[in-house]
């Protein structure tokens, strides 16, 4: 079942009846009455654009609220319509407020997020590239079993890991340290799986054999010949790691208790808890602006690296 079989079936004769149970008799023999009748017409263009535009607005709704809210002071957030700007605007006051509130801890959180995401992305991508290479290019005992086992662990809920992990980190003194966030995040079974599929398809075994004959050792083949050919795969896995690490919330929530170590996700939520608690000073205006700034690096990465997430992100899923 899948693309591999059916894509081979380009013979026009039976093309409308690809193999596979879901299809069966649906297409039956061509019905003459339908011939020429709306054969190429699709959903009317206007309806199509209407549906797409409606979903576009839905996607942008939270962004609209944030952009409106960042022009407001905290009183206006409650007193004015949520999806429209404030008059007079307070954008610059909010900007100054954001970077000075609690001695400018926001900037610190931003730096922490960059440090966490950067080191996790570098480390994890490298580890996955090497591991995926081993699974793709070498034979060793119980290889398939080990690979399936690693892949199967994707199903383990994060809570199952993080809580005992906290107790273990506590014993070795890594609780409330940056390492406590970075080291466990290096494990990325899905990244390993993706890298293996990229190595499978992007680095022919003949090239390895040829390089061996020319006297290159395995390490040189990996670094000098393999890695330069793997750019798409590496960027894709790195992008996935970065998104995962930048968005990480649960692990820092458990591991960190000192607010100067928080990443943005955790810091802004602490502000929200304080703002929403009875007697707490509300800073929803700062949270709104801070939220916007916290997603900028990812938005930039997505726009700049568009072709990677469009093609590469789905490589694992379409591989079938």
């Amino acid at each position: 079942m899948g693309l591999k079989q059916t894509s081979a079936q380009t013979d026009p004769g039976d093309a409308t009846v690809p193999a596979g149970p879901p299809l069966g008799n649906v297409v039956a023999p061509p019905i003459p009455a339908l011939r020429g009748d709306a054969a190429t017409s699709s959903v009317p263009g206007a309806l199509r654009n209407l549906v797409l535009a409606a979903f576009l607005l839905y996607c942008l709704l939270p962004a609209t609220w944030i952009i409106a809210a960042m022009t407001k002071d905290n009183g206006q957030i409650f007193s004015t319509f949520g999806l429209w700007f404030a008059n007079p605007p307070h954008f610059f006051e909010n900007l100054i407020g954001l970077f000075t509130y609690q001695n400018g801890i926001f900037l610190r959180w931003f730096g922490n997020s960059l440090l966490y995401a950067g080191s996790i992305t570098l480390g994890s991508t490298l580890i996955c590239a090497m591991g995926g290479y081993a699974f793709s290019k070498y034979d060793f005992p119980s290889k398939q079993l080990l690979f399936n086992f690693i892949l199967g662990t994707i199903m383990v809920p994060s809570t199952a890991l993080v809580l005992p992990l906290f107790l273990m980190l506590n014993k070795v003194g890594l609780v409330n340290t940056m390492w406590g966030v970075i080291l466990p995040s290096l494990v990325n079974p899905f990244g390993l799986y993706l890298m293996k599929t990229f190595w499978d398809s992007g680095f022919p075994n003949e090239l390895i054999e040829a390089s061996r004959l020319e006297g290159a050792n395995e390490w040189q083949i990996f670094w000098r010949i393999g890695i330069p050919l793997m750019q798409t795969g590496l960027v894709t896995v790195a992008l996935l790691c970065f998104v995962g690490a930048w968005n990480n919330f649960f692990l820092p929530l458990i591991v960190l208790s000192q607010d100067s170590l928080y990443p943005l996700t955790l810091g802004l939520n602490i502000w929200n808890s304080v703002s929403s608690a009875a007697g707490g000073k509300p800073v929803y205006n700062l949270i709104a602006l801070g939220s916007l700034i916290s997603v900028l690096p990812l938005l930039i990465a997505f726009v700049v690296l568009g072709k990677y997430w469009r093609g590469g992100l789905t490589a694992g899923a379409t591989k079938g």
Binding site: M155, P157, L192, I254, F302
Partner: protein, 288 residues
Amino acid sequence: MRQHRKTAFLFLAPFLTVFVAFYLTPVIYAIYLSLFIRKRVGIGPAKEVLGGMANYVRAVQDGDFLNGLKNMFVFGVVQVPVMLGLAIVLALLLAESRGIFMKVCRTTFFMPYGIPSAIGALIWGYLYSPNLSPFNQVLGALHGGAIEFLSPGVVLFSIANIVTWTWTGYNMITLFAALQNIPTELYEAARVDGATHWDIVRSIKIPLLMPTLKLLFIFSVIGTSQLFTEAFVLRPLGYVADNITPNLYLYLTAARDANYSYAGALAILLALLIFVISGPFLRRISSS
């Protein structure tokens, strides 16, 4: 080939090291912990004593845990199909669009996936919050009504909406890429045979999307079982029950009640359940 075995191991060593240290060991530790129960002996403080399967017996009778599982099930049969259905429709429509509008849609639909769920949930929380919600501002202006998005009966749907908002675009992009992989000769041949647009969608596109769709379904179910952040982030803003998702419940069991052994048992049970549900699917997908 023997020396290559050693090389293979060296390439694999970094992954295996972190995998064993930060993935496998915690799971084994959780299993070990789950065998203990807290017991008060005499008048001293409670002690952890070996309890065998006692935590597991307690878990399968625990109304809070079962309620979380029930919500997870509702998610699986309502939110996941709605989200994937929406993703298919959007992918099909987008595949027929051209030009700048298509590109804007493609990028914008995907954006929510890149927004940290802790931030996305926070902003949706404000859109839901009784004091802030622009929806209720509009409703209030129209006829004085309001929807309590964060009230017990509605909050599960409010969370479902956040998850749908976050993941529909991701699923759509994956299906969109799978659509691009279908050779166009198939459509041409079908048209020659007199197939209408709908025939092509029903009989070529959807069936050929099925393997991708099954994989996305399984990933969504696994994601559903791990629901935590959205519920956790909404807690300060409204009424979110402790037992709304299994993960929130077991987090509170450990972090608030400090009952690590019981939380460990809950985690193991949850992982087993997911394994039983998604294992057969994954096996079928990987063997095809």
